[in-house]
């Protein structure tokens, strides 16, 4: 056997939070990031649900990486992920019904969240169980942090509240876990100064805007550390890379012309 590569678990964990933040750096999982961040509570709920699925599926896929035949691995991964998502969905439905209602169709859509399939393909299928779990946890927390940031900006500017409806999320810890505290409400204070929340920010257009600005900030930070800008490139993170007949190193645009060129 070849000598085993030493795995730095701390590094596998921490890379997902900043250096390779799945949302802002790898540009994965954009749909839920935009859709459920209208309030911090929803964002946290989504982030935790996705993190649990990510860690569990990473562990199982990594444990089965030598059993799953290479040719059918994508469907196999999808089944594993879908199973965990269904479990989470049922748990949320049973214990946090308000969250289930708030997330709606986006909860089952964790299945097609490209962060999860992307990590399965890029990391869990090649690394041992513990490292995969660390990677999943790090990526999940990176996702959660970004969701939280987006939710904070959008909720404060768009609705004038912060952590509103957190009670619904904490309902699993019994009644009134925070002594009746149900988030900050700035609307009254704002009204005194004659200001009103900018509702546009909790509308879809606000989501795109905040995400764009956050990504620009991330680019600025990355530039200081001489990292490349976030771009929608990287077949490494694309789950379909192997089946994909676009072998262009990530630019899904060029091949169309190339394929046509061949046809002519």
């Amino acid at each position: 056997m070849a000598e085993k590569k030493k795995i730095n678990y701390g590094k596998e964990f921490s890379k997902g939070i900043l250096k390779q933040n799945p949302v802002l750096r790898l540009v994965l999982g954009t749909c839920p990031t935009l859709a459920v961040t209208t309030s911090v509570s929803n964002a946290i709920g989504m982030g935790i649900a996705a993190t649990i699925v990510l860690v569990c599926s990473n562990i199982v896929i990594s444990a089965l990486r030598k059993v799953i035949p290479d040719k059918v691995r994508i469907p196999a991964y999808i089944v594993i992920i879908a199973a965990f998502v269904s479990m989470i969905q049922m748990l949320v439905k049973a214990y946090i019904p308000a969250l289930n209602k708030a997330l709606g169709v986006y909860l089952p859509l964790i299945v097609v969240n490209c962060i999860i399939l992307g990590r399965a393909e890029a990391f869990a299928s090649k690394n041992p169980v513990l490292a995969s779990a660390c990677d999943g946890l790090g990526m999940g927390i990176g996702f959660l942090t970004t969701e939280f940031l987006m939710g904070t900006v959008r909720e404060i500017i768009g609705a004038g509240t912060w952590f509103a409806g957190i009670q619904d999320l904490l309902v699993i810890f019994g009644n009134n876990p925070l002594g009746g505290w149900n988030g900050f409400d700035f609307t009254e204070g704002l009204a005194k100064t004659g200001l009103a929340p900018i509702t546009l920010f909790i509308l879809p257009c606000g989501g795109f805007f905040v995400f764009g600005v956050l990504m620009a900030c991330a680019n600025k930070l990355a530039d200081k550390k001489h990292l490349p800008k976030a771009e929608k490139v990287g077949c490494a993170s694309c789950p379909m890379a192997e089946n994909c007949n676009i072998k262009s190193g990530g630019n899904c645009e060029k091949p169309a012309a190339a394929v046509k060129g061949e046809a002519e």
Binding site: V27, T30, C31, P32, L34, A35, I74, P75, I78, V79, A82, A83, V85, S86, Q89, M90, G104, V105, P108, L109, V111, V112, N113, C114, L117, L200, L203, P204, C205, G206, G207, F208, F209, F211, G212, V213, M215, A216, C217, N219, K220, D223, K229, A230, E231, K232, C238, P239, M240, N243, C244, N245, I246, C252, E253, P255, A256, V259, K260, A263
Partner: protein, 197 residues
């Protein structure tokens, strides 16, 4: 009949899949740089969405009858994955010209949340078969509308002088925000026309 028209308007404009439901953002950002790729991708999405709805509707009826609704997510994603593979194989063998035009986009569609999303939304909203088909078609056309419009916006964007750190995706997202803002103007149009689903 009225409800079908309402669904069409909603899918195309007020509840546009990309711009107001955030489904299918990845292809929206990834493949909308040029008009022809935008059209190719969205055509493939419309076709797959409609076929997926037609196939999953009876399966869902069966699941509900057997009291196995909890399997919906697993079953739907598998059906969609298999379906996409089959469509690809079919086109490759019998409709070569279409395969050349759409083939490269098909594998990417399996993980497109718009397809799974529309199927799940049909179930959640309790649409009947006709309504489900209309919703999928309208959703797909809405996706196409957004993609085609946005490819035009991006073309203009290329010749703009953008601040250094906004170059690339950030400015694209802000352009998407403005495109989405213009769709907010249509809010209430369905109710205004006296339509409902």
């Amino acid at each position: 009949m009225k409800s079908y028209f309402a669904l069409l308007i909603m899918g195309l404009i007020t509840n546009n899949f990309v711009l107001s439901k955030f489904l299918g953002i990845c292809p929206f950002l990834g493949v909308s740089k040029k008009l022809d790729t935008a059209v190719g991708m969205s055509t493939a999405v419309v076709i797959v969405m409609c076929i997926a709805t037609a196939v999953t509707y009876p399966i869902n009826v069966l699941l509900v009858r057997k009291d196995m609704e909890y399997l919906q997510t697993v079953v739907f994603i598998l059906v969609i994955a298999a379906l996409v593979q089959m469509i690809e194989m079919f086109l490759k063998k019998y409709v070569k010209s279409l395969y050349k035009a759409l083939g490269i986009y098909l594998p990417l569609i399996t993980t497109n949340c718009a397809v799974l999303g529309v199927v799940l939304l049909n179930v959640q909203n309790g649409y009947n078969f006709g309504q489900s088909m209309m919703n999928s078609f309208a959703g797909g056309m809405g996706f196409m509308l957004a993609m085609v419009m946005f490819s035009g916006v991006r073309k203009k964007l290329e010749s703009c002088d953008v601040p250094e750190f906004f170059k690339g995706l950030p400015i694209t997202l802000i352009a998407a925000s403005l495109t989405s803002l213009s769709f907010v103007g249509f809010a209430g149009i369905v109710e205004g026309m006296g339509l409902s689903v």
